[in-house]
Symmetry: C2
Subunit: 323 residues, 2 copies
């Protein structure tokens, strides 16, 4: 990566996550290039707007692209697509990634970096977990309701702990300059399992039971079920050699108790008849757990319920939808 | 029981099951007394009508009661209430049951006879599982779409196999005279577990996934889930000392595959905002399994999901609803 000039950024997937971080980076003076699909013309003509409790952001002009072939190679390629659209990355990444660039995977679930390592090489991948409350409410328009942070970690072959690398610190520095909170993790895989402690129960149950988080936390039966599922995630992570700090499960549970009523991203996808991120959040952890000999009956049942519900939705449109 | 005069029958719960069998018994010349609640005035004035593929039945006059205190004591008290209304039986049974009479529990689930044994004595209880497709479609009006049978068994203290008793045969004879197919079982508890092999997966999943049986049988994920749940029921029954014949699970699975699209009774209850029979069909088997050391994680999860969904419904009306 170039360390003299400011790093250049590509945002692949200009939705609730990508548009937010890309906008902040651009406002901090970085050169940012946004790949869009449905909203391309609108964003090209009108830019991005973010309604935020921390102050609205208006960016009248952004570098918007409908075709990755028009984009310049960038130092950091931020992938903030839904995992269900990752198939486009095989074509996109070789076009937008600088020779010494890095792909930063801001996606939930497991097996995320592995998929990219197979395309761009293990040395070119990093990952992050976004703790952020942001929704797209129109073309180029976001509502940001909760300041959070990115838990950022480097990737090492096979998912081993990579430690805190120099490039990790450098990118963290860029994000910090842009006013984005960053925490660094030495072990990205543990961090991914930790986020699954939240995502696996709440995403799936919010869809299966048509509920926001507050309702799930009010009923003794779903409270017990959520805790049982969290414990299953914890046990699977440990079996896979990525033990989660023991107090973490209770923390996530009580954190959710204190949250405003929240509609999970998977529930929004389901309600809007978009494919849900079932394989990244359920399928891959189940396969990893099974390989390590962990029993995950509740998560498997939730996975099966979600696959059923997903099979009812209209088939996704043929083209890629990188936003 | 009186074996010279024809036996007299009380029907407690004149709904899809009770009205159907009561009507058939009355048409065969038995003296039948129907307890009603919401539909009392209508049935008193207009009787019962059953639309059936086997020929419609019209009974312009029946002995209809709104108050169990007006009913005569009967030789056989058929309880075809939803289990969620069983609380009324403490008052009703002592009034309608002849001194040497028997209570025939035509309800799904586990722990059914035990509840009545505590009120009327273990010697006064029998049970039956109804394989019947009948729905109430209006006051005093049923649609009967599938001829089935009653699997009838006597009860022995503690749920042990009671064998084929004389009174069991006698009541079977009455029902046969009325054109109702009867099969006898020596072990009512095994029969109850067998019916749970069907009820536990299909009732619960049809509610949780808002589906008829045909959709659940079309998707590979729900097919696998249904089979996993059936196996859990089978293992719990065996742990409880009531082993189900080994081929039975496959039979139920393939039977359902061949069925017309079917809306389960629990789904109808849920859609009509009536309380679901969660404790009889899930809670009691879970408690029995836990006592016997059987792991039932999937059934427990379904139970928790159903309790959540049930908690959303309007609270049930204060009064009893014996129909």
């Amino acid at each position: 990566m170039n360390t003299i000039k400011k790093r250049t950024y590509a945002i692949i997937g200009t939705g609730a996550v990508g548009a937010f971080y890309g906008a902040k980076l651009q406002l901090a003076g970085f050169d940012v290039h946004f790949l869009l699909h449905k909203d391309f013309a609108h964003v090209r003509d009108h830019g991005l707007r973010i309604l935020s409790s921390e102050g609205d952001l208006v960016i009248p002009h952004v570098n918007a692209y409908a075709d990755p072939r028009s984009m310049p190679p960038c130092d950091v390629v931020v992938v903030s697509l839904k995992t269900t659209h990752n198939k486009i990355l095989t074509d996109v990444l070789p076009r937008v990634l600088n020779e010494n660039g890095v792909v930063l995977m801001l996606q939930n679930g497991l097996g995320i970096e592995e998929e990219i390592a197979a395309i761009a090489g293990a040395h070119s991948v990093m990952g992050g977990l976004c703790f952020l409350r942001s929704n797209k409410i129109g073309p180029g328009l976001l509502r940001h309701t909760g300041s959070g942070y990115i838990l950022l970690g480097d990737y090492a072959l096979g998912g081993k702990a990579a430690g805190i690398t120099l490039r990790c610190k450098a990118i963290a520095e860029d994000f910090s300059q842009a006013g984005i909170s960053i925490r660094l993790t030495e072990n990205l895989r543990v961090a991914r399992w930790q986020k699954l402690v939240w995502n696996i129960p709440y995403n799936g149950l919010s869809v299966a039971l048509n509920a926001r988080t507050d309702r799930l936390m009010q009923c003794p039966s779903t409270r017990a079920l959520i805790m049982n599922i969290m414990r299953e995630v914890e046990a699977a992570a440990a079996a896979c050699g990525h033990p989660i700090p023991p107090e973490f499960v209770e923390e996530m549970f009580h954190y959710t108790e204190g949250m405003e009523p929240y509609t999970t991203s998977m529930k929004i996808d389901f309600d809007e008849k978009r494919p849900m991120e079932i394989e990244a959040i359920y399928g891959n952890p189940l396969r990893a757990g099974a390989e390590a000999g962990a029993a995950m009956p509740l998560i498997e049942m939730l996975y099966q319920q979600l696959k059923y519900l997903d099979s009812l939705a209209d088939p996704p449109s043929a083209g890629p939808e990188p936003e």
